[in-house]
Protein backbone atom coordinates (compact mmCIF):
# COMPACT_ATOMS: atom_id res chain seq x y z
CA UNK A 1 0.00 0.00 0.00
CA UNK A 2 1.30 3.40 -0.83
CA UNK A 3 0.42 6.63 0.85
CA UNK A 4 -0.33 9.01 -1.93
CA UNK A 5 0.78 12.03 -0.05
CA UNK A 6 2.90 15.09 0.03
CA UNK A 7 5.80 14.90 2.38
CA UNK A 8 6.84 18.22 3.78
CA UNK A 9 10.42 19.00 4.62
CA UNK A 10 9.77 20.45 8.03
CA UNK A 11 7.28 20.97 10.76
CA UNK A 12 5.00 23.84 10.02
CA UNK A 13 5.85 23.81 6.33
CA UNK A 14 2.49 22.41 5.43
CA UNK A 15 0.70 25.13 7.37
CA UNK A 16 2.95 27.71 5.77
CA UNK A 17 2.15 26.38 2.32
CA UNK A 18 -1.55 26.39 3.06
CA UNK A 19 -1.48 29.98 4.16
CA UNK A 20 0.70 30.95 1.21
CA UNK A 21 -0.83 29.06 -1.63
CA UNK A 22 1.06 28.96 -4.90
CA UNK A 23 -1.85 30.54 -6.73
CA UNK A 24 -1.50 33.69 -4.62
CA UNK A 25 2.23 33.81 -5.21
CA UNK A 26 1.78 33.42 -8.95
CA UNK A 27 -0.92 36.03 -8.89
CA UNK A 28 1.38 38.52 -7.17
CA UNK A 29 4.06 37.78 -9.72
CA UNK A 30 1.57 38.30 -12.51
CA UNK A 31 0.50 41.68 -11.14
CA UNK A 32 4.02 42.83 -10.58
CA UNK A 33 5.22 41.92 -14.05
CA UNK A 34 2.16 43.44 -15.67
CA UNK A 35 2.58 46.71 -13.82
CA UNK A 36 6.19 47.03 -14.83
CA UNK A 37 5.39 46.04 -18.42
CA UNK A 38 7.97 43.29 -18.20
CA UNK A 39 9.68 42.39 -21.37
CA UNK A 40 11.83 39.39 -22.10
CA UNK A 41 14.44 39.03 -24.76
CA UNK A 42 14.21 35.94 -26.92
CA UNK A 43 17.74 34.70 -27.35
CA UNK A 44 18.52 32.24 -30.02
CA UNK A 45 21.73 31.00 -31.44
CA UNK A 46 22.91 27.87 -33.06
CA UNK A 47 26.19 26.66 -31.60
CA UNK A 48 27.53 23.78 -33.63
CA UNK A 49 24.38 21.73 -33.91
CA UNK A 50 22.86 22.79 -30.63
CA UNK A 51 20.01 25.23 -30.81
CA UNK A 52 20.12 27.55 -27.84
CA UNK A 53 16.80 29.22 -27.23
CA UNK A 54 15.72 30.91 -24.06
CA UNK A 55 14.21 34.14 -22.86
CA UNK A 56 16.30 36.57 -20.85
CA UNK A 57 14.39 38.58 -18.31
CA UNK A 58 15.77 41.50 -16.40
CA UNK A 59 13.77 42.43 -13.29
CA UNK A 60 13.77 44.53 -10.16
CA UNK A 61 14.67 42.91 -6.87
CA UNK A 62 11.08 42.62 -5.72
CA UNK A 63 10.09 40.80 -8.89
CA UNK A 64 13.12 38.57 -8.62
CA UNK A 65 11.86 37.53 -5.24
CA UNK A 66 8.48 36.64 -6.70
CA UNK A 67 10.04 34.73 -9.56
CA UNK A 68 11.98 32.66 -7.03
CA UNK A 69 8.95 32.05 -4.88
CA UNK A 70 6.86 30.97 -7.84
CA UNK A 71 9.74 29.00 -9.34
CA UNK A 72 9.86 30.59 -12.72
CA UNK A 73 13.19 30.89 -14.44
CA UNK A 74 16.72 30.24 -13.44
CA UNK A 75 18.57 33.05 -11.73
CA UNK A 76 21.79 34.13 -13.43
CA UNK A 77 24.30 35.33 -10.88
CA UNK A 78 25.77 38.69 -11.81
CA UNK A 79 27.53 41.51 -10.02
CA UNK A 80 24.61 43.81 -10.77
CA UNK A 81 23.14 45.19 -7.55
CA UNK A 82 19.83 46.74 -8.48
CA UNK A 83 18.63 44.35 -11.13
CA UNK A 84 18.47 40.60 -11.41
CA UNK A 85 18.62 38.43 -14.49
CA UNK A 86 16.73 35.28 -15.22
CA UNK A 87 16.83 32.64 -17.89
CA UNK A 88 13.32 31.48 -18.73
CA UNK A 89 12.65 28.24 -20.56
CA UNK A 90 10.37 28.29 -23.60
CA UNK A 91 7.51 26.83 -21.60
CA UNK A 92 7.91 29.30 -18.77
CA UNK A 93 8.11 32.26 -21.11
CA UNK A 94 5.11 31.17 -23.10
CA UNK A 95 3.10 30.52 -19.95
CA UNK A 96 3.82 34.00 -18.60
CA UNK A 97 2.99 35.41 -21.99
CA UNK A 98 -0.03 33.47 -23.08
CA UNK A 99 -1.62 32.18 -19.92
CA UNK A 100 -0.77 34.82 -17.36
CA UNK A 101 -0.53 37.59 -19.92
CA UNK A 102 2.08 39.42 -17.90
CA UNK A 103 5.11 39.27 -20.16
CA UNK A 104 5.89 40.40 -23.64
CA UNK A 105 8.66 38.80 -25.61
CA UNK A 106 10.94 40.73 -27.92
CA UNK A 107 12.93 39.15 -30.70
CA UNK A 108 15.36 41.17 -32.73
CA UNK A 109 13.77 44.41 -31.60
CA UNK A 110 10.29 43.24 -32.49
CA UNK A 111 7.62 42.44 -29.95
CA UNK A 112 6.09 39.06 -30.84
CA UNK A 113 2.38 38.37 -30.75
CA UNK A 114 1.25 35.10 -29.18
CA UNK A 115 0.81 33.39 -32.53
CA UNK A 116 4.19 34.56 -33.74
CA UNK A 117 5.82 33.42 -30.52
CA UNK A 118 4.11 30.05 -30.80
CA UNK A 119 5.26 29.64 -34.34
CA UNK A 120 8.81 30.57 -33.41
CA UNK A 121 8.97 28.14 -30.53
CA UNK A 122 7.36 25.37 -32.51
CA UNK A 123 9.74 25.84 -35.36
CA UNK A 124 12.71 25.58 -33.03
CA UNK A 125 11.37 22.66 -31.04
CA UNK A 126 9.10 20.27 -32.85
CA UNK A 127 7.80 18.85 -29.60
CA UNK A 128 7.16 22.24 -28.03
CA UNK A 129 3.34 21.92 -28.32
CA UNK A 130 3.17 18.73 -26.32
CA UNK A 131 5.73 19.88 -23.79
CA UNK A 132 3.86 23.11 -23.33
CA UNK A 133 0.57 21.28 -22.90
CA UNK A 134 2.12 19.15 -20.17
CA UNK A 135 3.68 22.18 -18.49
CA UNK A 136 0.53 24.24 -18.49
CA UNK A 137 -1.64 21.27 -17.51
CA UNK A 138 0.23 21.03 -14.24
CA UNK A 139 0.97 24.73 -13.70
CA UNK A 140 -2.65 25.72 -14.00
CA UNK A 141 -3.40 23.38 -11.10
CA UNK A 142 -0.81 25.24 -9.08
CA UNK A 143 1.88 22.61 -9.27
CA UNK A 144 5.42 23.91 -9.51
CA UNK A 145 7.00 22.66 -12.72
CA UNK A 146 10.67 22.85 -13.57
CA UNK A 147 12.59 21.59 -16.54
CA UNK A 148 15.04 18.95 -15.44
CA UNK A 149 16.63 17.59 -18.55
CA UNK A 150 19.79 16.78 -16.67
CA UNK A 151 17.98 14.01 -14.85
CA UNK A 152 16.86 12.41 -18.04
CA UNK A 153 13.26 13.45 -17.61
CA UNK A 154 11.32 16.31 -19.13
CA UNK A 155 10.07 18.06 -15.98
CA UNK A 156 9.97 17.72 -12.24
CA UNK A 157 6.69 18.67 -10.57
CA UNK A 158 6.27 19.70 -6.92
CA UNK A 159 3.19 20.36 -4.85
CA UNK A 160 4.61 23.67 -3.66
CA UNK A 161 8.04 25.28 -3.53
CA UNK A 162 10.83 22.64 -3.67
CA UNK A 163 12.31 23.98 -0.45
CA UNK A 164 9.11 22.98 1.34
CA UNK A 165 8.28 19.60 -0.11
CA UNK A 166 10.09 16.33 -0.41
CA UNK A 167 7.86 14.50 -2.74
CA UNK A 168 7.91 15.27 -6.36
CA UNK A 169 7.10 13.69 -9.67
CA UNK A 170 9.56 13.12 -12.43
CA UNK A 171 7.52 13.93 -15.51
CA UNK A 172 7.95 12.48 -18.96
CA UNK A 173 5.83 13.71 -21.80
CA UNK A 174 4.75 11.34 -24.53
CA UNK A 175 2.85 12.00 -27.68
CA UNK A 176 -0.29 9.92 -27.92
CA UNK A 177 0.20 6.38 -26.77
CA UNK A 178 3.84 6.51 -27.67
CA UNK A 179 5.76 3.68 -26.20
CA UNK A 180 8.13 4.70 -23.45
CA UNK A 181 10.49 1.92 -24.43
CA UNK A 182 11.46 3.89 -27.45
CA UNK A 183 12.76 6.56 -25.13
CA UNK A 184 14.09 4.55 -22.24
CA UNK A 185 15.34 1.19 -21.20
CA UNK A 186 15.15 -0.13 -17.65
CA UNK A 187 18.49 1.26 -16.44
CA UNK A 188 17.17 4.79 -17.02
CA UNK A 189 14.06 4.10 -14.95
CA UNK A 190 16.13 2.58 -12.20
CA UNK A 191 18.41 5.59 -12.21
CA UNK A 192 15.65 8.17 -12.16
CA UNK A 193 13.62 6.45 -9.49
CA UNK A 194 16.38 5.39 -7.14
CA UNK A 195 15.06 4.90 -3.65
CA UNK A 196 17.73 7.01 -2.04
CA UNK A 197 18.68 10.40 -3.46
CA UNK A 198 16.98 9.72 -6.75
CA UNK A 199 15.22 12.46 -8.66
CA UNK A 200 11.88 11.30 -7.39
CA UNK A 201 10.15 8.14 -6.31
CA UNK A 202 7.36 8.58 -8.76
CA UNK A 203 7.36 8.91 -12.49
CA UNK A 204 4.45 10.67 -14.07
CA UNK A 205 3.90 9.87 -17.68
CA UNK A 206 1.76 12.37 -19.48
CA UNK A 207 0.29 11.09 -22.71
CA UNK A 208 -0.80 13.97 -24.87
CA UNK A 209 -3.53 13.01 -27.29
CA UNK A 210 -5.61 14.71 -29.90
CA UNK A 211 -2.64 16.59 -31.21
CA UNK A 212 -3.27 18.33 -34.50
CA UNK A 213 -0.69 20.23 -36.41
CA UNK A 214 -2.25 23.62 -36.30
CA UNK A 215 -0.33 26.82 -36.15
CA UNK A 216 -2.48 28.82 -33.82
CA UNK A 217 -1.29 29.40 -30.31
CA UNK A 218 -4.47 28.06 -28.81
CA UNK A 219 -4.49 24.80 -30.69
CA UNK A 220 -3.00 23.06 -27.70
CA UNK A 221 -6.14 23.76 -25.72
CA UNK A 222 -7.81 20.86 -27.48
CA UNK A 223 -5.13 18.40 -26.56
CA UNK A 224 -6.07 15.75 -24.06
CA UNK A 225 -3.77 14.71 -21.26
CA UNK A 226 -3.82 11.24 -19.76
CA UNK A 227 -1.77 10.51 -16.72
CA UNK A 228 -0.05 7.33 -15.79
CA UNK A 229 2.15 6.75 -12.79
CA UNK A 230 5.10 4.47 -12.31
CA UNK A 231 6.33 4.54 -8.73
CA UNK A 232 9.21 2.74 -7.19
CA UNK A 233 8.07 0.24 -4.58
CA UNK A 234 10.22 -0.91 -1.72
CA UNK A 235 9.03 -4.25 -0.35
CA UNK A 236 11.06 -3.77 2.79
CA UNK A 237 9.16 -0.66 3.75
CA UNK A 238 5.77 -1.82 2.81
CA UNK A 239 4.76 -3.77 5.88
CA UNK A 240 4.33 -0.96 8.28
CA UNK A 241 2.78 1.61 6.07
CA UNK A 242 -0.81 2.32 6.71
CA UNK A 243 -3.14 4.46 4.78
CA UNK A 244 -3.96 7.20 7.18
CA UNK A 245 -2.48 10.60 6.80
CA UNK A 246 -3.28 13.70 4.87
CA UNK A 247 -2.10 14.00 1.39
CA UNK A 248 -2.40 17.56 0.33
Amino acid sequence: MVVFGTRWKGKGFEAFALSNPMSKIVSRLQNSLTESKASGLLMDRVVDVIDIVFVLLEVELEQANLLDQACFGCHIVTACKDKKHYELSLEEAFYLCHSLKCLEVVWRDKCLENDELWEFMTSRRKLFPIFYKAYSHLRVKNWVVKSEIKYGVDFVAYRHHPSLVHSKYAVIVLKGNEDITRLMAWPSFHAILRLEDGVAKTLLLLHINNVHDRVSSSCFEHYIVEEQILARWNPEQCHEEHITGSWI
Binding site: V2, N177, A185, Q228, I229, R232, C238
Partner: protein, 323 residues
Protein backbone atom coordinates in the same frame (compact mmCIF):
# COMPACT_ATOMS: atom_id res chain seq x y z
CA UNK B 1 12.94 -23.55 12.15
CA UNK B 2 15.07 -20.49 12.06
CA UNK B 3 13.10 -17.31 12.17
CA UNK B 4 12.66 -15.23 9.11
CA UNK B 5 14.54 -12.21 10.40
CA UNK B 6 17.74 -14.10 9.90
CA UNK B 7 17.06 -14.39 6.25
CA UNK B 8 18.53 -11.69 4.16
CA UNK B 9 18.27 -11.28 0.47
CA UNK B 10 21.42 -11.08 -1.59
CA UNK B 11 21.66 -8.08 -3.76
CA UNK B 12 20.72 -5.83 -0.87
CA UNK B 13 23.97 -6.01 0.99
CA UNK B 14 26.81 -4.40 -0.83
CA UNK B 15 29.20 -5.33 1.94
CA UNK B 16 30.28 -8.93 1.89
CA UNK B 17 30.50 -9.23 5.62
CA UNK B 18 26.78 -8.67 5.93
CA UNK B 19 25.89 -11.66 3.82
CA UNK B 20 23.60 -14.04 5.57
CA UNK B 21 24.89 -17.23 7.00
CA UNK B 22 22.57 -20.01 6.05
CA UNK B 23 23.12 -23.26 7.78
CA UNK B 24 21.49 -26.59 7.61
CA UNK B 25 18.78 -26.91 10.11
CA UNK B 26 17.79 -29.67 12.42
CA UNK B 27 14.22 -30.00 11.28
CA UNK B 28 14.02 -30.31 7.57
CA UNK B 29 11.35 -30.86 5.00
CA UNK B 30 11.65 -33.89 2.80
CA UNK B 31 10.12 -33.85 -0.63
CA UNK B 32 10.16 -36.17 -3.60
CA UNK B 33 10.41 -34.76 -7.08
CA UNK B 34 7.58 -35.69 -9.41
CA UNK B 35 8.97 -35.13 -12.88
CA UNK B 36 5.60 -35.54 -14.56
CA UNK B 37 3.98 -32.83 -12.48
CA UNK B 38 7.09 -30.70 -12.31
CA UNK B 39 6.56 -30.33 -8.58
CA UNK B 40 7.93 -31.78 -5.34
CA UNK B 41 5.62 -33.89 -3.22
CA UNK B 42 6.10 -33.07 0.44
CA UNK B 43 6.78 -36.25 2.41
CA UNK B 44 7.87 -34.83 5.75
CA UNK B 45 7.21 -31.42 7.09
CA UNK B 46 8.05 -29.53 10.22
CA UNK B 47 7.38 -26.12 11.59
CA UNK B 48 4.90 -23.67 10.14
CA UNK B 49 6.31 -22.41 6.87
CA UNK B 50 4.35 -24.98 4.90
CA UNK B 51 1.14 -23.25 5.94
CA UNK B 52 1.78 -20.51 3.44
CA UNK B 53 3.46 -22.54 0.75
CA UNK B 54 2.72 -25.13 -1.81
CA UNK B 55 -0.50 -26.43 -3.26
CA UNK B 56 -2.78 -29.23 -2.17
CA UNK B 57 -4.00 -31.81 -4.58
CA UNK B 58 -5.73 -35.12 -3.71
CA UNK B 59 -4.69 -34.72 -0.08
CA UNK B 60 -1.08 -34.37 -1.04
CA UNK B 61 1.06 -31.33 -0.55
CA UNK B 62 3.27 -30.14 -3.38
CA UNK B 63 5.94 -27.46 -3.60
CA UNK B 64 6.75 -25.67 -6.84
CA UNK B 65 10.30 -25.65 -8.07
CA UNK B 66 10.82 -22.12 -6.76
CA UNK B 67 9.53 -23.03 -3.32
CA UNK B 68 11.68 -26.14 -3.36
CA UNK B 69 14.80 -24.26 -4.28
CA UNK B 70 14.07 -21.50 -1.78
CA UNK B 71 13.86 -23.99 1.05
CA UNK B 72 16.79 -26.03 -0.22
CA UNK B 73 19.00 -22.93 -0.36
CA UNK B 74 18.22 -22.34 3.28
CA UNK B 75 19.03 -25.87 4.27
CA UNK B 76 15.40 -26.43 5.10
CA UNK B 77 14.56 -29.05 2.51
CA UNK B 78 16.00 -32.28 1.15
CA UNK B 79 14.80 -33.12 -2.34
CA UNK B 80 14.77 -36.78 -3.28
CA UNK B 81 14.18 -38.57 -6.52
CA UNK B 82 12.19 -41.81 -6.96
CA UNK B 83 15.24 -43.78 -5.85
CA UNK B 84 15.63 -41.67 -2.69
CA UNK B 85 18.80 -40.07 -4.01
CA UNK B 86 19.23 -36.56 -2.69
CA UNK B 87 19.38 -33.79 -5.29
CA UNK B 88 22.35 -31.51 -4.90
CA UNK B 89 21.73 -27.79 -4.71
CA UNK B 90 23.50 -27.54 -8.03
CA UNK B 91 20.98 -29.94 -9.56
CA UNK B 92 18.10 -27.84 -8.36
CA UNK B 93 19.61 -24.61 -9.64
CA UNK B 94 19.97 -26.29 -13.00
CA UNK B 95 16.31 -27.22 -12.96
CA UNK B 96 15.35 -23.61 -12.43
CA UNK B 97 17.79 -22.27 -14.97
CA UNK B 98 16.42 -24.65 -17.57
CA UNK B 99 12.96 -23.27 -16.85
CA UNK B 100 11.14 -26.52 -17.63
CA UNK B 101 8.99 -26.48 -14.55
CA UNK B 102 7.20 -23.18 -14.86
CA UNK B 103 9.80 -20.99 -13.24
CA UNK B 104 12.85 -19.41 -14.76
CA UNK B 105 15.83 -17.86 -13.04
CA UNK B 106 14.43 -14.32 -13.25
CA UNK B 107 11.20 -15.37 -11.62
CA UNK B 108 13.03 -17.28 -8.96
CA UNK B 109 15.03 -14.22 -7.96
CA UNK B 110 11.87 -12.18 -7.57
CA UNK B 111 10.24 -15.04 -5.65
CA UNK B 112 13.17 -15.39 -3.32
CA UNK B 113 13.42 -11.66 -2.67
CA UNK B 114 9.83 -11.32 -1.57
CA UNK B 115 9.72 -14.61 0.28
CA UNK B 116 12.77 -13.65 2.31
CA UNK B 117 10.97 -10.52 3.43
CA UNK B 118 8.06 -12.56 4.70
CA UNK B 119 5.58 -12.12 1.88
CA UNK B 120 3.41 -15.03 0.88
CA UNK B 121 4.15 -15.76 -2.75
CA UNK B 122 2.16 -18.08 -4.94
CA UNK B 123 2.45 -18.80 -8.61
CA UNK B 124 -0.13 -16.77 -10.47
CA UNK B 125 -2.95 -18.79 -11.92
CA UNK B 126 -2.57 -21.83 -9.73
CA UNK B 127 -5.24 -22.43 -7.10
CA UNK B 128 -3.98 -23.31 -3.62
CA UNK B 129 -6.48 -26.13 -3.35
CA UNK B 130 -9.12 -27.69 -5.53
CA UNK B 131 -12.00 -27.41 -3.17
CA UNK B 132 -15.30 -26.47 -4.73
CA UNK B 133 -15.67 -23.22 -2.88
CA UNK B 134 -12.40 -21.50 -3.61
CA UNK B 135 -14.20 -18.64 -5.26
CA UNK B 136 -11.71 -16.32 -3.67
CA UNK B 137 -9.08 -17.65 -6.01
CA UNK B 138 -11.02 -17.24 -9.20
CA UNK B 139 -10.92 -13.53 -9.83
CA UNK B 140 -7.17 -13.55 -10.01
CA UNK B 141 -6.76 -16.74 -11.95
CA UNK B 142 -7.21 -15.86 -15.56
CA UNK B 143 -6.63 -19.46 -16.56
CA UNK B 144 -9.85 -20.15 -14.66
CA UNK B 145 -9.66 -23.88 -14.88
CA UNK B 146 -13.19 -24.96 -14.21
CA UNK B 147 -13.65 -27.19 -11.26
CA UNK B 148 -15.45 -30.37 -12.10
CA UNK B 149 -15.65 -33.66 -10.30
CA UNK B 150 -15.82 -35.52 -13.55
CA UNK B 151 -12.43 -34.31 -14.81
CA UNK B 152 -9.65 -36.48 -13.52
CA UNK B 153 -7.31 -34.85 -11.07
CA UNK B 154 -4.20 -35.64 -12.99
CA UNK B 155 -5.52 -34.18 -16.26
CA UNK B 156 -6.35 -30.99 -14.43
CA UNK B 157 -2.89 -30.90 -12.96
CA UNK B 158 -1.30 -31.30 -16.32
CA UNK B 159 -3.34 -28.38 -17.57
CA UNK B 160 -2.26 -26.27 -14.65
CA UNK B 161 1.39 -27.19 -15.05
CA UNK B 162 1.38 -26.58 -18.74
CA UNK B 163 -0.34 -23.20 -18.43
CA UNK B 164 2.11 -22.08 -15.79
CA UNK B 165 4.90 -23.34 -17.96
CA UNK B 166 3.59 -21.50 -20.98
CA UNK B 167 3.12 -18.35 -18.95
CA UNK B 168 6.67 -18.27 -17.80
CA UNK B 169 7.98 -19.02 -21.24
CA UNK B 170 5.86 -16.62 -23.17
CA UNK B 171 7.58 -14.21 -25.43
CA UNK B 172 5.53 -11.20 -24.37
CA UNK B 173 7.29 -8.45 -22.53
CA UNK B 174 5.11 -8.67 -19.45
CA UNK B 175 4.04 -11.84 -17.73
CA UNK B 176 1.95 -12.34 -14.65
CA UNK B 177 4.26 -14.30 -12.43
CA UNK B 178 3.13 -14.36 -8.81
CA UNK B 179 0.19 -13.61 -6.57
CA UNK B 180 1.57 -11.96 -3.47
CA UNK B 181 0.03 -11.55 -0.04
CA UNK B 182 1.38 -9.25 2.62
CA UNK B 183 2.93 -11.02 5.60
CA UNK B 184 -0.04 -12.21 7.53
CA UNK B 185 -0.24 -14.63 10.40
CA UNK B 186 -3.91 -15.20 9.73
CA UNK B 187 -3.36 -16.47 6.24
CA UNK B 188 -5.21 -19.71 5.51
CA UNK B 189 -4.60 -21.77 2.43
CA UNK B 190 -8.19 -22.89 2.62
CA UNK B 191 -9.40 -19.34 2.10
CA UNK B 192 -6.59 -17.09 1.02
CA UNK B 193 -8.73 -14.28 -0.36
CA UNK B 194 -7.55 -12.04 -3.15
CA UNK B 195 -3.84 -11.41 -3.26
CA UNK B 196 -2.59 -8.02 -2.23
CA UNK B 197 -0.92 -7.63 -5.56
CA UNK B 198 0.12 -9.53 -8.66
CA UNK B 199 3.77 -9.39 -9.55
CA UNK B 200 4.63 -9.13 -13.25
CA UNK B 201 8.06 -9.58 -14.65
CA UNK B 202 8.91 -7.18 -17.44
CA UNK B 203 11.81 -7.47 -19.79
CA UNK B 204 11.39 -3.88 -20.96
CA UNK B 205 9.61 -0.91 -19.40
CA UNK B 206 5.93 -1.56 -20.04
CA UNK B 207 3.80 0.48 -22.36
CA UNK B 208 0.51 2.00 -21.24
CA UNK B 209 -1.45 -0.51 -23.30
CA UNK B 210 0.41 -3.49 -21.90
CA UNK B 211 -0.29 -2.29 -18.38
CA UNK B 212 -3.95 -1.66 -19.12
CA UNK B 213 -4.34 -5.14 -20.57
CA UNK B 214 -2.81 -6.73 -17.53
CA UNK B 215 -4.83 -4.61 -15.13
CA UNK B 216 -7.96 -5.87 -16.81
CA UNK B 217 -6.85 -9.45 -16.44
CA UNK B 218 -6.17 -8.90 -12.77
CA UNK B 219 -9.66 -7.69 -12.04
CA UNK B 220 -8.95 -4.97 -9.55
CA UNK B 221 -5.98 -6.61 -7.86
CA UNK B 222 -3.13 -4.11 -8.02
CA UNK B 223 -0.20 -4.78 -10.26
CA UNK B 224 3.46 -4.46 -9.45
CA UNK B 225 6.07 -4.68 -12.12
CA UNK B 226 9.44 -6.19 -11.55
CA UNK B 227 12.65 -6.04 -13.49
CA UNK B 228 15.32 -8.45 -12.47
CA UNK B 229 17.95 -8.06 -15.14
CA UNK B 230 19.78 -5.10 -13.64
CA UNK B 231 19.29 -5.91 -9.99
CA UNK B 232 15.86 -6.24 -8.50
CA UNK B 233 13.51 -3.31 -8.98
CA UNK B 234 9.81 -3.24 -8.35
CA UNK B 235 7.39 -0.60 -9.56
CA UNK B 236 3.75 0.11 -9.19
CA UNK B 237 2.01 1.26 -12.29
CA UNK B 238 -1.37 2.84 -12.08
CA UNK B 239 -3.57 5.56 -13.30
CA UNK B 240 -3.85 7.87 -10.37
CA UNK B 241 -7.09 7.66 -8.50
CA UNK B 242 -7.76 8.24 -4.89
CA UNK B 243 -10.96 8.01 -2.95
CA UNK B 244 -12.33 10.75 -0.89
CA UNK B 245 -15.13 10.32 1.51
CA UNK B 246 -18.04 12.60 0.88
CA UNK B 247 -19.15 14.81 2.50
CA UNK B 248 -15.53 15.20 3.45
CA UNK B 249 -15.48 13.61 6.82
CA UNK B 250 -11.88 12.68 6.62
CA UNK B 251 -9.30 12.17 3.98
CA UNK B 252 -7.53 8.98 3.16
CA UNK B 253 -5.43 8.30 0.18
CA UNK B 254 -5.48 4.93 -1.44
CA UNK B 255 -4.48 3.98 -4.87
CA UNK B 256 -6.92 1.42 -6.04
CA UNK B 257 -10.44 0.22 -5.73
CA UNK B 258 -9.46 -3.07 -4.20
CA UNK B 259 -7.55 -1.49 -1.35
CA UNK B 260 -10.41 0.90 -0.76
CA UNK B 261 -12.79 -2.02 -0.51
CA UNK B 262 -10.47 -3.83 1.88
CA UNK B 263 -10.20 -0.90 4.21
CA UNK B 264 -13.87 -0.24 4.26
CA UNK B 265 -14.76 -3.91 4.04
CA UNK B 266 -16.83 -3.89 7.16
CA UNK B 267 -18.75 -0.83 6.13
CA UNK B 268 -19.20 -2.16 2.63
CA UNK B 269 -20.66 -5.37 3.94
CA UNK B 270 -23.19 -3.61 6.05
CA UNK B 271 -24.05 -1.44 3.07
CA UNK B 272 -23.31 1.70 4.96
CA UNK B 273 -20.69 2.53 2.37
CA UNK B 274 -20.70 2.23 -1.37
CA UNK B 275 -17.57 2.70 -3.35
CA UNK B 276 -17.79 3.85 -6.88
CA UNK B 277 -15.05 4.80 -9.23
CA UNK B 278 -15.40 8.22 -10.72
CA UNK B 279 -13.24 9.35 -13.52
CA UNK B 280 -12.88 13.00 -14.27
CA UNK B 281 -13.25 13.89 -17.87
CA UNK B 282 -9.87 14.83 -19.27
CA UNK B 283 -9.07 18.50 -19.16
CA UNK B 284 -11.51 19.01 -16.39
CA UNK B 285 -10.79 21.91 -14.14
CA UNK B 286 -13.37 20.80 -11.67
CA UNK B 287 -13.76 17.90 -9.42
CA UNK B 288 -16.65 16.47 -7.53
CA UNK B 289 -18.94 17.19 -10.37
CA UNK B 290 -21.89 15.08 -9.34
CA UNK B 291 -22.68 12.05 -11.39
CA UNK B 292 -26.25 11.03 -11.79
CA UNK B 293 -27.07 9.14 -8.66
CA UNK B 294 -24.01 10.55 -6.96
CA UNK B 295 -26.10 11.26 -3.93
CA UNK B 296 -25.86 7.59 -3.14
CA UNK B 297 -22.10 7.49 -3.49
CA UNK B 298 -20.03 7.60 -0.35
CA UNK B 299 -16.60 7.39 -1.78
CA UNK B 300 -15.51 9.02 -4.95
CA UNK B 301 -12.35 8.00 -6.66
CA UNK B 302 -10.79 10.95 -8.34
CA UNK B 303 -7.57 11.79 -9.99
CA UNK B 304 -5.50 13.86 -7.61
CA UNK B 305 -3.36 15.14 -10.42
CA UNK B 306 -6.34 16.87 -11.88
CA UNK B 307 -7.32 18.51 -8.67
CA UNK B 308 -6.61 22.09 -7.91
CA UNK B 309 -5.98 21.62 -4.23
CA UNK B 310 -6.38 25.19 -3.40
CA UNK B 311 -10.03 24.88 -4.09
CA UNK B 312 -10.36 22.24 -1.47
CA UNK B 313 -10.78 23.73 1.94
CA UNK B 314 -9.34 22.09 4.92
CA UNK B 315 -11.53 22.42 7.88
CA UNK B 316 -10.43 20.94 11.15
CA UNK B 317 -8.33 18.38 9.34
CA UNK B 318 -11.11 17.40 7.01
CA UNK B 319 -11.38 17.89 3.32
CA UNK B 320 -14.40 19.48 1.85
CA UNK B 321 -15.24 20.26 -1.68
CA UNK B 322 -15.63 23.82 -2.70
CA UNK B 323 -18.99 24.30 -4.33
Amino acid sequence: MKSEEEMNEDGHSPLLNSEPKLQFRNDIYKARWDAELGMAEVIEKKGVMWKTMGIFRWSKHYFSIEETLFLAERGALLLLDEKDTIFTLKNIYKMVAEANNGCCWESFKAFRHLKSLGYIVARHGVPWTLKNDNKSCEPTRPQGIPESDTVSGREMEDTISVSSLLQSMQINNLRLAFDVYLPNSNFRISSPGDPDFVLCIARDPPSKIEIENLERRCNGVPLKICNVEHGLFIYEAYTPFAPLLVPGLFSICIIDLKTARDIFAEDCCSNRLRIKPFKLPPDSNNFARPLSGAETVDVILFNPLQIDFERVNRHKGHLQFET
